[in-house]
Protein backbone atom coordinates (compact mmCIF):
# COMPACT_ATOMS: atom_id res chain seq x y z
CA UNK A 1 0.00 0.00 0.00
CA UNK A 2 1.27 3.44 -0.82
CA UNK A 3 0.12 4.65 2.58
CA UNK A 4 3.20 3.17 4.23
CA UNK A 5 5.50 5.34 2.16
CA UNK A 6 3.40 8.42 2.98
CA UNK A 7 3.82 7.93 6.70
CA UNK A 8 7.56 7.23 6.35
CA UNK A 9 8.12 10.42 4.36
CA UNK A 10 6.03 12.48 6.76
CA UNK A 11 7.91 11.09 9.73
CA UNK A 12 11.31 11.77 8.13
CA UNK A 13 10.25 15.33 7.41
CA UNK A 14 9.01 15.81 10.98
CA UNK A 15 12.39 14.79 12.36
CA UNK A 16 14.28 16.89 9.81
CA UNK A 17 12.09 19.93 10.51
CA UNK A 18 12.55 19.76 14.26
CA UNK A 19 16.32 19.53 13.88
CA UNK A 20 16.66 22.14 11.14
CA UNK A 21 15.46 25.07 13.26
CA UNK A 22 17.48 24.23 16.30
CA UNK A 23 17.84 27.29 18.48
CA UNK A 24 19.82 25.29 21.03
CA UNK A 25 21.99 22.61 19.42
CA UNK A 26 23.29 21.41 22.79
CA UNK A 27 21.92 18.38 24.62
CA UNK A 28 19.13 20.46 26.23
CA UNK A 29 17.66 21.39 22.85
CA UNK A 30 18.00 17.81 21.64
CA UNK A 31 15.99 16.58 24.60
CA UNK A 32 13.30 19.18 23.86
CA UNK A 33 12.93 17.98 20.27
CA UNK A 34 12.91 14.35 21.33
CA UNK A 35 10.15 15.02 23.84
CA UNK A 36 8.15 16.95 21.24
CA UNK A 37 8.33 13.93 18.95
CA UNK A 38 7.42 11.61 21.79
CA UNK A 39 4.47 13.81 22.72
CA UNK A 40 3.18 13.69 19.15
CA UNK A 41 3.48 9.93 19.12
CA UNK A 42 1.66 9.79 22.45
CA UNK A 43 -1.42 11.64 21.17
CA UNK A 44 -1.52 9.51 18.01
CA UNK A 45 -1.15 6.39 20.13
CA UNK A 46 -4.07 7.45 22.31
CA UNK A 47 -6.34 7.80 19.29
CA UNK A 48 -5.14 4.50 17.80
CA UNK A 49 -5.64 2.77 21.15
CA UNK A 50 -9.29 3.79 20.93
CA UNK A 51 -9.91 2.95 17.30
CA UNK A 52 -8.01 -0.28 16.71
CA UNK A 53 -9.43 -2.56 19.42
CA UNK A 54 -12.97 -1.58 18.54
CA UNK A 55 -14.11 -4.88 17.17
CA UNK A 56 -11.91 -7.14 19.28
CA UNK A 57 -13.12 -8.84 22.43
CA UNK A 58 -12.20 -7.46 25.82
CA UNK A 59 -8.58 -7.90 26.89
CA UNK A 60 -8.25 -10.20 29.80
CA UNK A 61 -4.73 -9.44 31.01
CA UNK A 62 -1.67 -7.28 30.47
CA UNK A 63 0.02 -9.80 28.21
CA UNK A 64 -3.01 -9.74 25.87
CA UNK A 65 -2.62 -6.00 25.54
CA UNK A 66 1.09 -6.30 24.75
CA UNK A 67 0.35 -8.99 22.18
CA UNK A 68 -2.24 -6.71 20.65
CA UNK A 69 0.42 -3.99 20.36
CA UNK A 70 2.87 -6.34 18.72
CA UNK A 71 0.38 -7.69 16.23
CA UNK A 72 -2.51 -5.37 15.45
CA UNK A 73 -0.93 -1.99 16.21
CA UNK A 74 2.33 -2.79 14.42
CA UNK A 75 0.50 -4.17 11.39
CA UNK A 76 -1.75 -1.12 11.22
CA UNK A 77 1.15 1.35 11.37
CA UNK A 78 4.06 -0.54 9.80
CA UNK A 79 2.36 -3.31 7.81
CA UNK A 80 4.29 -6.01 9.64
CA UNK A 81 4.24 -7.67 13.04
CA UNK A 82 6.77 -7.22 15.78
CA UNK A 83 9.42 -9.90 15.57
CA UNK A 84 9.72 -10.83 19.21
CA UNK A 85 8.20 -10.08 22.58
CA UNK A 86 9.95 -10.99 25.80
CA UNK A 87 8.96 -10.37 29.39
CA UNK A 88 10.26 -10.88 32.87
CA UNK A 89 6.68 -11.29 34.10
CA UNK A 90 7.29 -8.47 36.50
CA UNK A 91 6.12 -5.55 34.43
CA UNK A 92 8.98 -5.24 31.93
CA UNK A 93 8.54 -6.17 28.29
CA UNK A 94 11.06 -6.01 25.48
CA UNK A 95 9.67 -5.75 21.97
CA UNK A 96 12.15 -6.40 19.22
CA UNK A 97 11.79 -5.48 15.59
CA UNK A 98 14.50 -6.89 13.33
CA UNK A 99 13.80 -4.64 10.39
CA UNK A 100 12.13 -1.53 11.68
CA UNK A 101 10.56 0.27 8.69
CA UNK A 102 11.56 3.75 9.84
CA UNK A 103 15.23 2.72 10.08
CA UNK A 104 15.52 0.29 7.24
CA UNK A 105 16.05 2.95 4.58
CA UNK A 106 18.92 4.54 6.48
CA UNK A 107 21.57 1.91 6.83
CA UNK A 108 22.26 -1.69 7.68
CA UNK A 109 24.83 -1.93 10.41
CA UNK A 110 26.49 0.62 12.62
CA UNK A 111 26.39 3.68 10.43
CA UNK A 112 24.13 6.48 11.73
CA UNK A 113 23.82 4.84 15.13
CA UNK A 114 23.82 8.26 16.88
CA UNK A 115 21.00 9.52 14.67
CA UNK A 116 18.76 6.54 15.36
CA UNK A 117 17.13 7.82 18.60
CA UNK A 118 15.57 10.73 16.70
CA UNK A 119 13.72 8.29 14.52
CA UNK A 120 12.52 6.17 17.42
CA UNK A 121 11.08 8.88 19.68
CA UNK A 122 7.77 9.14 17.85
CA UNK A 123 7.27 5.37 17.97
CA UNK A 124 8.04 5.26 21.69
CA UNK A 125 5.33 7.82 22.22
CA UNK A 126 2.99 5.82 20.01
CA UNK A 127 3.41 2.74 22.21
CA UNK A 128 3.04 4.76 25.40
CA UNK A 129 -0.12 6.48 24.12
CA UNK A 130 -1.81 3.27 23.03
CA UNK A 131 -0.97 1.66 26.38
CA UNK A 132 -2.35 4.63 28.27
CA UNK A 133 -5.73 4.47 26.49
CA UNK A 134 -5.89 0.79 27.29
CA UNK A 135 -5.39 1.59 30.95
CA UNK A 136 -1.66 0.96 31.44
CA UNK A 137 0.73 3.61 32.62
CA UNK A 138 4.17 2.87 31.26
CA UNK A 139 7.58 4.14 30.33
CA UNK A 140 8.85 3.27 26.86
CA UNK A 141 12.45 3.56 25.78
CA UNK A 142 14.14 2.40 22.62
CA UNK A 143 17.61 1.11 21.95
CA UNK A 144 19.49 0.26 18.81
CA UNK A 145 22.48 -2.02 18.71
CA UNK A 146 22.75 -2.13 14.98
CA UNK A 147 20.38 -0.81 12.34
CA UNK A 148 17.71 -1.76 11.40
CA UNK A 149 17.13 -3.93 14.46
CA UNK A 150 15.74 -2.06 17.41
CA UNK A 151 14.30 -2.91 20.78
CA UNK A 152 11.53 -1.11 22.62
CA UNK A 153 11.53 -1.56 26.34
CA UNK A 154 8.18 -1.10 28.08
CA UNK A 155 8.21 -0.77 31.85
CA UNK A 156 4.80 -0.78 33.50
CA UNK A 157 4.49 1.82 36.22
CA UNK A 158 2.75 0.40 39.22
CA UNK A 159 0.82 3.08 41.10
Amino acid sequence: MADAALFEFLHTEMVAELWAHHSDPGPGGQKMSLSVLEGMGFRVGQALGERLPQETLAFREELDILKFLCKDLWVAVFQKQMDSLRTNHQGTYVLQDNSFPLLIRMAAGLQYLEEAPKFLAFTCGLLRGALSTLGIKSLVTASVASLPTCKFQVVIQKT
Binding site: Q46, G49, E50, P53, Q54, T56, L57, A58
Partner: protein, 109 residues
Protein backbone atom coordinates in the same frame (compact mmCIF):
# COMPACT_ATOMS: atom_id res chain seq x y z
CA UNK B 1 -28.66 6.42 39.87
CA UNK B 2 -26.01 6.45 37.20
CA UNK B 3 -23.43 6.10 39.95
CA UNK B 4 -25.02 2.98 41.36
CA UNK B 5 -25.15 1.52 37.87
CA UNK B 6 -21.43 2.26 37.53
CA UNK B 7 -20.90 0.07 40.58
CA UNK B 8 -22.79 -2.74 38.88
CA UNK B 9 -20.65 -2.28 35.75
CA UNK B 10 -17.48 -2.58 37.81
CA UNK B 11 -18.87 -5.70 39.43
CA UNK B 12 -19.57 -7.28 36.05
CA UNK B 13 -16.13 -6.38 34.70
CA UNK B 14 -14.31 -7.88 37.65
CA UNK B 15 -16.50 -10.97 37.45
CA UNK B 16 -15.56 -11.33 33.80
CA UNK B 17 -11.88 -11.19 34.63
CA UNK B 18 -11.94 -13.87 37.29
CA UNK B 19 -14.35 -16.40 35.82
CA UNK B 20 -13.07 -18.32 32.81
CA UNK B 21 -15.90 -16.98 30.72
CA UNK B 22 -15.40 -17.35 27.00
CA UNK B 23 -17.71 -14.50 26.32
CA UNK B 24 -15.50 -11.49 26.48
CA UNK B 25 -18.11 -9.27 25.00
CA UNK B 26 -18.07 -5.55 25.30
CA UNK B 27 -21.82 -5.31 25.69
CA UNK B 28 -22.87 -5.87 29.29
CA UNK B 29 -26.61 -6.05 28.86
CA UNK B 30 -29.35 -5.02 31.23
CA UNK B 31 -27.63 -3.95 34.42
CA UNK B 32 -30.63 -3.94 36.70
CA UNK B 33 -34.22 -2.85 36.36
CA UNK B 34 -35.69 -0.35 38.78
CA UNK B 35 -39.29 0.76 38.96
CA UNK B 36 -39.13 3.58 36.47
CA UNK B 37 -35.98 2.98 34.50
CA UNK B 38 -33.90 0.32 32.87
CA UNK B 39 -30.17 0.80 32.76
CA UNK B 40 -27.90 -0.72 30.09
CA UNK B 41 -24.11 -0.84 30.17
CA UNK B 42 -21.29 -1.17 27.64
CA UNK B 43 -17.59 -1.05 28.28
CA UNK B 44 -14.84 -0.51 25.71
CA UNK B 45 -11.35 -1.95 25.65
CA UNK B 46 -10.10 1.39 26.83
CA UNK B 47 -12.21 1.01 29.96
CA UNK B 48 -14.59 3.74 28.87
CA UNK B 49 -18.05 2.94 30.15
CA UNK B 50 -21.26 3.90 28.43
CA UNK B 51 -24.39 3.86 30.52
CA UNK B 52 -27.82 4.18 28.95
CA UNK B 53 -30.91 4.90 31.04
CA UNK B 54 -34.22 4.05 29.41
CA UNK B 55 -37.74 4.77 30.58
CA UNK B 56 -39.46 1.52 31.48
CA UNK B 57 -42.65 2.53 29.76
CA UNK B 58 -40.80 2.19 26.47
CA UNK B 59 -41.15 -1.56 26.12
CA UNK B 60 -40.67 -1.53 22.37
CA UNK B 61 -36.89 -1.31 22.64
CA UNK B 62 -35.28 -4.61 21.70
CA UNK B 63 -31.90 -5.93 22.72
CA UNK B 64 -30.33 -5.59 19.30
CA UNK B 65 -31.54 -2.03 19.01
CA UNK B 66 -29.75 -1.21 22.23
CA UNK B 67 -26.65 -2.99 20.93
CA UNK B 68 -26.67 -0.97 17.73
CA UNK B 69 -27.10 2.24 19.71
CA UNK B 70 -24.06 1.39 21.80
CA UNK B 71 -22.11 0.57 18.67
CA UNK B 72 -22.95 3.96 17.20
CA UNK B 73 -21.97 5.62 20.47
CA UNK B 74 -18.65 3.79 20.45
CA UNK B 75 -17.96 4.84 16.86
CA UNK B 76 -18.76 8.48 17.57
CA UNK B 77 -16.65 8.42 20.71
CA UNK B 78 -13.73 7.00 18.71
CA UNK B 79 -14.13 9.83 16.21
CA UNK B 80 -14.05 12.35 19.05
CA UNK B 81 -10.85 10.77 20.40
CA UNK B 82 -9.19 11.05 17.00
CA UNK B 83 -9.90 14.76 16.85
CA UNK B 84 -6.50 16.40 17.45
CA UNK B 85 -8.14 19.34 19.21
CA UNK B 86 -9.71 17.10 21.80
CA UNK B 87 -7.77 16.27 24.98
CA UNK B 88 -8.73 12.90 26.40
CA UNK B 89 -10.50 13.29 29.71
CA UNK B 90 -12.13 16.61 28.91
CA UNK B 91 -15.82 17.14 28.56
CA UNK B 92 -16.92 16.40 24.99
CA UNK B 93 -17.86 19.57 23.10
CA UNK B 94 -18.10 18.05 19.64
CA UNK B 95 -21.23 19.11 17.78
CA UNK B 96 -21.11 16.03 15.57
CA UNK B 97 -21.18 13.81 18.65
CA UNK B 98 -24.06 15.78 20.20
CA UNK B 99 -26.12 15.65 17.04
CA UNK B 100 -25.57 11.89 16.71
CA UNK B 101 -26.70 11.32 20.27
CA UNK B 102 -29.74 13.59 19.88
CA UNK B 103 -30.81 11.92 16.66
CA UNK B 104 -30.52 8.52 18.37
CA UNK B 105 -32.68 9.67 21.26
CA UNK B 106 -35.29 11.17 18.93
CA UNK B 107 -35.47 7.91 17.01
CA UNK B 108 -36.36 6.05 20.16
CA UNK B 109 -38.96 8.37 21.68
Amino acid sequence: MVHTSLDVVDEKISAMGKALVDQRELYLGLLYPTEDYKVYGYVTNSKVKFVMVVDSSNTALRDNEIRSMFRKLHNSYTDVMCNPFYNPGDRIHSRAFDSMVTSMMIQVC
